[in-house]
Amino acid sequence: MSERQLEELREFREFRESEETPKTPGTLQTQKINDDLLSSLRPPTLRWYVLALCLGAVVAWGLAAFTWQMTHGMYVTGKNRPVMWGFYITGFVFWVGLSHSGTMVSSILRLSQANWRRPILRAAEAMTVFCITVAGMFPLIHLGRNWTFFYMIPYPNQRGLWPNFRSALLWDMTAITAYIIGSSLFLYLGLLPDLAVARDRSKGWQHKVYAVLAMGWRGTAHEWSVYRKASTLMAALIIPVAVSVHSIVAWDFAVTVVPGWHSTIFPPYFVIGAILSGVAAVITLMIVIRKAFHLEEYLTPLHFDNMGKLLLVISLLWSYAYFVEVQTTWYAHEPIEWEVFSFMSQRYTPQLLIMLAGNTLLPIFCMCFKRLRRSIGTMLVVSLMVNVAMFIERFLIIVPSLSHKNMPFAWGSYSSSWVEISVNLAALAGFALLFTVFAKFFPIVAVTDVRELEARRAEVSMGRAKVPSIAGEED
């Protein structure tokens, strides 16, 4: 601990022992919660810098690969006729999927007033913002002549060009823009009272930054009243946006006549897949945050138990949707559809097996048992496996269908190049870097929400009985 940290700790202890210490209902004192949950905002350690440097190096490598692609042309990727969508679009669909669950899970749990949600909200919402940012990069990287990306932006220009809204690419752009802005505002809304706490407990330039971001929040009854109504409204508004984003991504495929893609089940199937990967990613992040910031007291086995149950339900739904899709193809035995499926199962057998194991067998088996749901190690393995499997699933949707389209003389195959792999790895590192930096500057566990939960747990005496405290209010 540095001198400054020791000094802060001493001041905090003195305050806690003083007469002014507030008597807040709850099992954990308010100051202790503040102290624990804002500990992540302390000055970075050497270990943090090393981590950020490593992640930054991978991002730099990805940028170098992308520059190589821009200067040498798209031939440096593995894309070739007939497979013109490869690892980039796989990455795009995968990251959009990951982004899906954060805000969605947060909103659904908020609207359903699931109290256990509180410590995990912030990580889920931040995950959404960073995932959708990373996802939004992929169509731009995939464009080819990347420097003309602004052709997609509708504005009057000398070329007399106007974006054609009949193109699914424009739907993506509109939906992703709406989702990035909506998710960022949703994240900021949740942060607002916590920024005021950070403002009150910081000094110097940090205090100035938090003061600007907190906008003069004081926690008046009127502010809380409006805030709660706005939170509920925003939670209700963001869900249809989240569903629409992944439905539109599914329509990128489903509105074509490519065998294997032209299916009515695609939008709900994509949405379910997105929630599955998103829930798994939230679990992974919870484990990392818990370990990194020593938040064992706040992210308890109960949270993993509940998230495990959610994972089980979504995994069952995904398995059902996948079964329906395959079973329909198999029973109809339409030649070209069956050809695509046969090609996929023969050419990509190991990948197919990993996908089924990771998305179906492993989560369904493990999440049936309370003991395994409450085991942090098991949850880490399962959540990581789900996302590896989901990446493979995205790949298996895209590449086999494009490899074996309607004209057999134009069949081909695809192998990803080092450039595509580098860019995808950089995307992963970029996400991790954004999250790491965010966690250093903003409370990664919702302080106010946790305090409210503690206040609700409090009991007051009424005659001979102890009844729940009324502190806190339903949405």
Partner: protein, 194 residues
Amino acid sequence: METLGVFRDVESAARAVDGLIRAGFTEAQIDSLTSVPYPDGVLVKTGQRSWFRWLALAGGLAGAVAGFGLAAGTAWLYPVQTGDKPIIAIYPTAIIMFETTMLFTIIAAMVGMFLEMRLPALKKRPYDAAVSDGCIGICLTIHPGGEAVECLPGVRSDECIGEIAALSAGEQRELATDVMKQAGALRIIGEEMS
């Protein structure tokens, strides 16, 4: 002008609110500052109807119009004839309209929320950082004083004050300070008259 009393717990803060009302101040003049939300009436009664959702609705309507203009209007202005397909396609127009409607609704909801909260605060208001640590603040809006104003619906909180408004602002503040100290205020923070 506002005066803030900082209390160690809800009970003493509630005593202060009762004391202020008994002294002649009105409910509309009193506000609480807390680190977690309390149900209406535990400390003060807000009882105000929220209007920002109407702004969200207006934003949504504006978004729908903007989306329609963007997708259908520009398709009409810059026609691209593709086979036998219509120039204005319903399906893409509906998608774009939906997204812009939701986007504008969300933005308008946020803007409305801040407007209704009167944030960002442009001038400094009494506040104590101990509120973040769980203390309770009771904030009283002091009337400029000199003339009693009847509390009728629609009269602003800093205007709505009965007999006590006959006292000067300084006397009102002294009275409020006494009441809050008696209730157990840890400290009183005053805002100077601007």
